[in-house]
């Protein structure tokens, strides 16, 4: 009889990479539903388009890199990247926009660097930024929330995706745009003037952000990631907006609640900043990483030239992650007490 020779440990915990990815996808569902509720079927066409492009692109890259296709496809990392990118794009984006973004994310940001685990930058954010810089017009046309203008139907969304001219969606400036372009109005006056503002931030946006928050909290409870990065980001973002709220004057940067519940804040805090591959490793490192992302988000939103800033903030901090790791190495057992003595 041949006895199998295997190296210890012979036990493994259940959680595999694909399980982690599937749970992340599941946690995105509430946010997706909320987005679809406010912006219509265009959210789904974005997601479907991005997923198809991502799987095709991933397969091609794997084939070129001579890697087993099925094994790598079933880690669902490409799908997660695609969904995150799709959620960052304006609903009803045309197919070519989606495809270019996805290819940039999968091929350029991930496979060029050696595939999953070796990418220094968050792939979805790279895809988003490539599009934002290359196609600023398309990328800043956000559909109006359903309560302000009727959303196109399913058929119209498909037409929009295939790039047909037959459909033209009603677009409106987002609350973050409005606050950025504001000059001369008190915050309360701004709120009264534009219908896009809701209770705390934008109409719809506050619910979308709350839904992403709920998904993120569930992931935290599932121990998919630790609290450090999201809490760091939200805390500093809140702190900065509290510091520069300026009593709601015409030069106010917006309240903490406005920033927490606007744009991609919650999606970023729980689904982007928590990306382990391109983030910091240790818990202290993650806290610092998140905090600096929060700081950058605020700075770019309020003083920079882009209304939303999660993508730029995350990419800038991706650069800094190895540096943070270097300075936040935990002391191993047996060396901790010695340092405390000194």
């Amino acid at each position: 009889m041949m006895l199998q020779q295997v190296s210890a440990p012979h036990l493994r915990a259940g959680q595999s990479t694909e399980e982690i990815m599937l749970r992340v996808l599941l946690a995105l569902v509430p946010g997706i539903i909320a987005m679809a509720h406010f912006f219509g079927a265009g959210v789904f066409t974005n997601i479907i388009g991005a997923c198809i492009a991502a799987v095709l692109c991933e397969s091609l890259c794997l084939r070129l890199r001579d890697r087993p296709l099925l094994l790598y496809l079933k880690d669902y990392s490409a799908v997660v990247t695609a969904v995150l990118l799709a959620l960052a794009l304006p609903p009803y984006s045309p197919w070519w926009l989606i495809t270019i973004g996805t290819v940039a994310a999968i091929a350029l940001a991930k496979h060029v660097f050696g595939g999953l685990g070796s990418n220094p930058f968050n792939p979805a954010m790279v895809g988003y930024v490539v599009l934002l810089i290359s196609f600023p017009v398309q990328m800043t046309q956000w559909t109006a929330p359903s309560s302000l203008a009727a959303n196109p139907g399913v058929w119209d969304s498909v037409l929009a995706m295939i790039g047909s001219e037959a459909y033209d969606a009603v677009t409106m400036a987002t609350p973050l745009d409005l606050l950025k372009q504001n000059d001369g109005f008190m915050v309360s006056a701004l709120w009264q003037q534009y219908p896009q503002f809701g209770r705390f931030s934008g109409v719809g946006w506050e619910w979308i952000n709350l839904a992403f928050l709920a998904g993120g909290v569930w992931l935290l409870q599932q121990k998919i990631f630790t609290w450090h990065a999201p809490v760091g980001m939200l805390a500093v973002l809140g702190l900065m907006s509290a510091l520069f709220y300026d009593g709601g004057s015409s030069s106010s940067g917006g309240s903490p609640l406005f920033h927490w519940l606007s744009g991609a804040t919650m999606l970023g805090a729980f689904f982007i900043v928590t990306d382990p591959v391109s983030g910091a490793t240790s818990n202290l490192g993650r806290l610092i990483f998140g905090a600096l992302v929060g700081l950058l988000v605020y700075c770019i939103r309020v003083w920079g030239s882009y209304p939303d800033a999660v993508a730029f903030a995350v990419l800038l901090m991706n650069f800094a992650a190895p540096f943070i790791d270097y300075y936040t190495q935990p002391k191993p057992y047996g060396y901790q007490a010695r340092d405390a003595d000194k």
Partner: protein, 574 residues
């Protein structure tokens, strides 16, 4: 109540303890052959003191401790020594080592034991020697010679390790439940030897019966039985120390640096048996468990019992089995063959069914999730170590304290990409060790070469100097001589001196020259004999010894013939 601290990381795998912990300890039957490796402990292998064909009794010492970091081996039943030869042993790499093989005679006849009930009156050295000669090594897993560990006069705290944190294993659990009095006696001896003022007995809270039994047995002592939370690897020495005292063993140090010594419960019980009852370590409690074992439970097994024999006895279904693990599922290793014996460190034999443990999962890329760092009890960065081990970056591995990895396997347990992390670390550790040995050897060779070079140079210059001096001397002499050149020719004088000497020798006769050769031969023989003795003492190779002996013999015969010649000559002259 002692405060409970905590240690970083750790995991909570499924325990699987009830399968084997519910039935009392059974005695495993006597096998036909016992295979006793001389190296069942860390340190120098024991030296066999029996020879092939010799009858030995149960408890008889068959190999004695070789040096302080070693321990003895005893026959675990009566029978005949059939071989002392290399045999496959329980080792992850399937190595062979010298084993004393005994064919048992079924009588199980024991050597009369010499008990030491009044051990308290013994001197420390005597007790330590007794423990060493009774073959006691750490039964918790590492097999460190206990006497060596206990030989330290800077101990304030004695920690008795009854954590048994590995899944499946319940040997210590049953021991604490059933033999708590023996354990109590063992701890008393350990406290006496170490002079510890504080005794902490740590047991994980998943063993309430054991805690109860030990509490009851140790009630009259001022020891503390500490219930520790169930978390792997709380039974690791360093982790247990941090858990109980809040202190960390300094990097590169040992627990004694903190005035602490740890002993496993099974070791303590074995020490009680060895000292009080005079019974050497010839058996241990081993857990037999896993899906392929029908009669799961704990067995008192004679050391040297072949695993195959033991498994068959416990209803092992060979067909279902695909691997057999010695030790627990997290730190144990798969056996290369079932023809290996139970040794002092065999706490568990785990024969899992095909679906029971982790299957050969396909490894995926590291996604830097950091779970490994979260669970690492040594607070290392397993992920970074993995990258550096993969790229054989030894500098960075050292900088990231690879040496402090205790190979507990917690990182690989949680890894979502199923990376065999511990395997990488072990390989890297071996590489680094090999490299450092090579480096040391290279350094020695270099030093030797440089020393030789220096010596040769020195010799050369010295020779040059003497030559120059002589030359100068000769020159001055020649100058002096040239002044009296007409009076005497030096060459002529030398020739004359030689002639005179020859004549003198001829006069004193032949007898003298014979006695001269005899003297010379005697001196030569003396030298050769000394050389042979010296070679014996320093353990030279067989070839060298025979060559030296031959030359001694030759000289002896030569001397004898010369002596005979001389006697003849004398006789004839008379």
């Amino acid at each position: 109540m002692t405060a409970i601290y905590s240690f970083h990381g750790g995991i909570h795998p499924e325990e699987h303890k009830t399968e084997s912990s519910s039935s009392p300890i059974q005695t495993a039957p006597l096998p036909r052959f016992l295979i006793l490796p001389v190296s069942q402990h860390i340190g120098a292998p024991a030296k066999p003191v029996v020879c092939v064909g010799q009858r030995v009794l149960k408890g008889e010492r068959i190999a004695h401790a070789d040096g302080p970091l070693s321990t003895a081996v005893h026959a675990s039943s009566s029978g005949y020594v059939t071989a002392i030869e290399p045999h496959l042993i329980a080792h992850p790499s399937g190595l062979s080592d010298t084993c004393i093989i005994i064919e048992t005679d079924g009588h199980d006849e024991a050597l009369p034991a010499s008990s030491h009930p009044n051990w308290r009156s013994y001197e420390l050295g005597e007790l330590l020697e007794l423990i060493r000669d009774q073959g006691i090594a750490g039964l918790g897993g590492a097999g460190f010679p206990s006497a060596y560990k206990l030989n330290n006069d800077n101990i304030q705290t004695l920690i008795i390790n009854g954590a048994e944190c590995e899944p499946y294993i319940t040997a210590d659990d049953r021991l604490m439940r059933e033999r708590s009095e023996l354990l109590e006696q063992g701890i008393a001896i350990l406290q006496h030897i170490t002079g510890a003022s504080e005794v902490l007995i740590a047991i994980e809270d998943n063993k309430p019966e054991a805690i109860e039994a030990v509490r009851a047995a140790c009630e009259h002592q001022d020891w503390t039985v500490v219930t520790i939370p169930t978390k792997y690897p709380s039974g690791g020495e360093k982790q247990l120390i941090e858990l109980l005292t809040g202190q960390q063993v300094p990097g590169g140090g040992i627990p004694a640096d903190l005035g602490i010594v740890c002993q496993n419960v099974a070791t303590a019980a074995a020490i009680a048996q060895a000292v009080i009852e005079g019974q050497p370590l010839i058996s241990r409690i081993t857990t037999l468990t896993g899906g392929c074992v029908a009669n799961k439970g704990n067995y008192e097994v004679r050391l040297g019992t072949p695993i195959e024999y033991l498994l068959k006895h416990s209803g092992y279904s060979l067909e279902q089995s695909q691997k057999v693990i010695m030790g627990g599922p997290l730190m144990g290793f798969t056996l290369p063959s079932l023809d290996v014996p139970v040794v002092k460190t065999t706490s568990c034999i785990l024969a899992p069914s095909k679906t029971e443990l982790a299957s050969e999962a396909c490894t995926q890329a590291c996604i830097r999730c950091g779970h490994c760092a979260e669970v690492c009890p040594a607070s290392l960065l397993p992920q970074q170590l993995y990258w550096y081990a993969k790229s054989q970056n030894h500098e960075q591995l050292k900088a990231h304290n690879l040496a402090d990895c205790i190979e507990c396997g917690a990182c690989a347990y949680v890894c979502p990409s199923a990376l065999p992390l511990v395997q990488f670390y072990r390989a890297a550790k071996a590489e680094i060790k090999e490299k450092s040995i090579e480096q040391r050897q290279a350094e020695i060779a270099k030093n030797r070469f440089e020393a030789r070079q220096a010596r040769l140079e020195r010799d050369a210059t010295e020779r040059e100097a003497t030559r120059a001096a002589r030359k100068a001397e000769a020159k001055t002499k020649a100058k002096q001589d040239s002044r009296y050149a007409d009076e005497t020719d030096p060459v002529q004088a030398a020739i004359e001196r030689a002639k005179a000497k020859k004549a003198r020798l001829q006069q004193s006769g032949e007898a003298n020259s014979v006695s001269n050769t005899l003297e010379e031969l005697k001196a030569k023989l003396e030298r050769a004999k000394f050389g042979l003795e010296h070679a014996h003492a320093s353990g030279k190779e067989e070839k060298v010894l025979t060559a030296l002996a031959a030359s001694v013999g030759r000289l002896e015969s030569l001397l004898a013939s010369e002596q005979a010649k001389q006697a003849q000559a004398q006789e004839s002259s008379e």
